[in-house]
């Protein structure tokens, strides 16, 4: 087990190295010049050239890459080309809203989706099943920003239950946090609920056909115990997996949701940085999100053995 974890953690290194290389190359091949953004509208070509020189953008590519990697290994994410602030500080300021939003979304999604999926599988081919399936397909079919706008229109503008936009830190204003986070979380959750409910249903359908479910029923165990004690735990591994891989989807959703609800999170930080070609920020952000993704999936992989004793490494 321990050896396995070590092995998996070592396995992260090449993955992250490739991510780093891909991101770096991608950015440097992208047309766009942070110097031009820095200098503004009325700067001339000669001025741009001087700024480029001072930012180190004229160095050979491999030199820039190794400099960056060296900095990274020293724990230094660099300084934003545009705002001249420390990238780790920028991320530190922005990461909390995003993480809180993501965690809340995942909690909401799991709490909604798993029972939905279980019941749909249990009542396979009933109207509940069709209802859940229809909802889950719908969840995939409407762009997340449209869902966001609809929620805002209904709950914030018409009903005035919650504020239109913004974010409050839960440590400072817990009520305000929930008021402001609930709509974005629900918006993000639609697609996630759809995903998890589908997977739960499929996985449960498979498990419910297994012999040990028949055994449990043969023991006279009640149906809810059969479903949640016997079946769900056996169905959990694919559900966990989809939560992990769906995390990538969540990151995409966050980018959009943060724009719609004006949440000062890392999603917008990244999009803004891409549009401004703020290389150190983009690089750090993509590495960070990739790292989080890899980490989440690593944790999920490791947690399989907690759920299923057959999985031993």
């Amino acid at each position: 087990m321990f050896g396995y974890i070590i092995r998996r953690i070592l396995g992260v290194i090449p993955v992250m190295a490739i991510v780093a290389l891909v991101v770096f190359l991608l950015l440097r091949l992208t047309p766009g010049d942070p110097a031009a953004i820095l200098a503004g509208d009325s700067a001339t070509a000669a001025q741009l050239e001087r700024i480029r020189e001072s930012l180190g953008l004229n160095d050979p590519l491999h030199l820039q890459f190794f400099n960056w990697i060296r900095q990274l290994l020293q724990g230094d994410l660099g300084t934003s080309l545009i705002s001249n602030t420390d990238v780790s500080q920028m991320i530190g300021r922005r990461i909390n809203p995003t993480i809180n939003l993501a965690v809340m979304t995942i909690i909401i999604s799991v709490l909604m989706a798993v029972p939905m999926g279980v019941i749909a599988a249990w009542r396979h081919r009933s109207w509940i099943d069709y209802g859940v399936m229809t909802f889950s397909v719908l969840g995939f079919s409407v762009p997340v920003f449209v869902i966001g706008y609809i929620f805002i229109q209904i709950f914030a503008i018409e009903l005035r239950w919650v504020p239109v936009q913004g974010y409050a830190h839960p440590t400072q204003d817990l009520m305000g946090f929930f008021q402001r986070a609930i709509l974005p979380s629900l918006t993000l959750a639609t697609i996630y609920v759809a995903l998890i409910a589908r997977m739960t249903r499929a996985s449960m359908l498979e498990v419910l056909g297994e012999d040990y479910i028949r055994t449990a029923r043969a023991k006279g165990v009640r149906e809810n115990v059969v479903l949640f004690r016997h079946a769900l735990r056996n169905a959990a591994v694919p559900i966990m997996t989809i939560i992990g891989t769906g995390f990538a989807l969540l990151i995409s959703g966050v980018v959009v949701t943060e724009s719609v609800f004006n949440i000062p999170g890392i999603g917008r930080l990244t999009v803004d940085a891409i549009l401004a070609r703020d290389y150190p920020v983009i690089q750090a952000m993509i590495l960070l999100t990739a790292g989080i993704y890899v980490l989440v999936n690593l944790l999920i992989d490791i947690s399989y053995s907690l759920i299923d004793p057959r999985i031993r490494y």
């Binding site: 050896g3 070590i6 092995r7 070592l10 081919r125 297994e210 012999d211 040990y212 028949r214 055994t215 449990a216 029923r217 043969a218 023991k219 006279g220 165990v221 009640r222 115990v225 016997h230 735990r233 056996n234 759920i307 299923d308 004793p309 057959r310």
Partner: protein, 554 residues
């Protein structure tokens, strides 16, 4: 052979199935799955339900438990009376109370029938928590450990906390039995409980069931396809075919004087444990020679290199043209590894393999390819051994075409082969799913034979088939061997089959050859303890089913 011969006339009737019919819902045009079954079991009686696949015996047992798959099978008529209650009229929650308390069931495959993510002790205990809510947890645990001891599990405390995958097949089945009997139900339904077990384990489980039945006076409905098992344990036997009970009688009467044609046919197909008369060796022309072969499965670790698993070691064997060599052994004995090494589907770790004079153990995959036509294989599972997307003709011509034969020639040869294996030529255009299991196995044999091999490896080639089909396929193999002079390496766990087809037998245990000799000698005068225990464990070994009498020892 000693049969059970107790009289149950005065015993209390536990289960009474009257005129039970089961059919597919909304599909009246399809014949019912069960058609008017009548069956009575009395206290202490073991009633065996025998039949081939699809005869409806499992459906009968599930119907009694009220566990027919929802929506796909429903009871259309009849009664299932348990102590004067008609189970079919019970509400789902009342039916739940009946299960485990009054009727319990054990299943064929103890691995899949136990919940893999729960400790086995908890799974037994769940029966108590469900039905005996008043018990304190201490009492519950005590009863669980007690029943575990009753089924002769060692170290009950440790096993209580184990997961199913940490136990052997026999132990798992004991857990299943413990779970079924912990509330001392009046009726135990056992659906092929020993089919997935090795023969020695099977013997133990059968005697355990008998012992517990004796102690608790339980009535047992025992579903099986194995006539040997029937002979060992049955009081009464019910023979099923196409959803009907065609004949029922006390066991001895049924085995000695079967009334119905189907019963006679079924019994006749059971291969005898007595080896067939030795065939004279034709030539001392060994087409396959294996010398000192060893296979170790490496367990590669990224950081730690663990010792590999020894699958087979020091294997020596040879087969002459036109002869059949059997490898017998229980699961994990390494018999399939040997077959796969010879086929070079896996690479042997060391040793020599000589096929038709060529040493192939060390050849590269590419260099090996031209030699492949000398040795072919037939697999166990007839449903997976043919590409489901290919027509039979495409499967049959694949090999010959690889070796440079024109498609037209290969096709005409395929037609001949179909006739050789007893199938119509025009079946060439069909897909595998249009054939039965036995027919597919014939096609697989035809595909192997199409290469005109010197050696044919049959890896449990008849194990997945019903006995009547099994007999036909064995006959076919014999026939082909006679016509083409192929050497056959026959891998099986079934001593009866081995006795009927092999000239020589290799007995393997844990990767090692323990005995090797002519079939007649090995099976009738085994020298090794392991061989002896295998033979002794074979159920019904003293009965000659095909001739409805005891085996006459020479």
């Amino acid at each position: 052979m000693q049969f059970k011969s107790r009289n149950f006339d005065r015993a209390e009737t536990i289960l009474d199935i009257c005129n039970l019919s089961v059919c597919l819902p909304d599909q009246p045009d399809i014949a019912p799955v069960l058609d008017g079954i009548n069956l009575t079991i009395r206290a202490g009686e073991t009633a065996c339900l025998v039949g081939e696949s699809g005869s409806g015996k499992s459906v009968t047992s599930l119907a009694v438990m009220g566990l027919l798959p929802k929506g796909s099978l429903t009871v259309s008529a009849g009664e299932i009376r348990l102590d004067d209650t008609d189970l079919l009229t019970l509400s789902p929650s009342d039916m739940r109370k009946v299960r485990a308390r009054r009727i319990a069931m054990i299943f064929q495959e103890p691995m899949t029938a136990l919940n893999p993510v729960m400790r086995v002790g908890e799974q037994i205990e769940e029966v108590l928590t469900t039905h005996e809510k008043a018990l304190s947890s201490k009492v519950r645990r005590g009863r669980v450990l007690d029943i575990m001891a009753q089924v002769h599990l060692p170290e009950v405390e440790r096993i209580y906390g184990s997961y199913p995958h940490q136990l052997s097949g026999g132990q798992r089945q004991r857990i299943m039995i413990a779970m079924a009997l912990v509330l001392e139900p009046k009726l135990l339904i056992a659906d092929e409980p020993t089919t997935a077990l090795d023969v020695t384990t099977q013997g133990q489980i059968l005697s355990l069931i008998a012992e517990l039945q004796e102690r608790h006076g339980t009535a047992v409905l025992f579903v099986t396809h194995d006539m040997g098992v029937v002979a060992e344990i049955a009081d009464t036997v019910h023979v099923m075919q196409y959803g009907c009970i065609v004949e029922h009688a006390p066991v001895e009467r049924l085995l000695r004087q079967p009334q119905e044609e189907y019963t006679r046919k079924l019994l006749s197909a059971v291969p005898s444990l007595v080896p067939r008369p030795t065939r004279p060796a034709m030539l001392d022309d060994n087409v396959l020679e294996v010398r000192n072969m060893e296979k170790v499965y490496a367990q590669g670790g990224f950081l730690v290199r663990k010792a590999g698993t020894l699958a087979a070691t020091g294997v020596d064997l040879s087969i002459a043209r036109g002869r059949t060599l059997g490898i017998v052994g229980e699961s994990g004995s390494g018999k399939s590894t040997v077959a796969r090494c010879i086929l070079r589907l896996v690479d042997p770790t060391s040793g020599e393999i000589r096929v038709a004079g060529t040493e192939i153990a060390r050849l590269s995959r590419r260099a090996l390819r031209p030699h492949r036509k000398h040795f072919q294989i037939v697999f166990q599972d007839p449903f997976r051994s043919l590409n489901p997307r290919w027509t039979v003709s495409r499967s049959l011509t694949e090999g010959p075409v690889n070796f440079g034969i024109t498609r037209r020639d290969a096709l005409s040869r395929a037609g001949e082969l179909m006739e050789l294996v007893g199938l119509p030529r025009d079946a060439l255009a069909r897909y595998p799913h249009q054939f039965s299991g036995g027919q597919r196995q014939r096609i697989a044999i035809a595909r192997a034979v199409a290469m005109r091999p010197d050696v044919l490896v049959a890896d449990e080639a008849v194990s997945a088939l019903d006995v009547s089909v099994q007999a036909q396929v064995i006959e076919l193999l014999d026939d082909i061997q006679e016509k083409l002079g192929i050497a056959i390496l026959f891998i099986t766990h079934d001593l009866r089959v081995a006795a009927q087809i092999c000239d020589d037998v290799v007995v393997m245990q844990r990767g090692v050859v323990v005995e090797y000799g002519p079939a007649g000698e090995v099976l009738s005068q085994p020298r090794h303890d392991y061989t002896r225990s295998l033979i002794e464990a074979a159920p019904g070994r003293l009965w000659d089913f095909a001739n409805f009498r005891e085996i006459r020892t020479a």
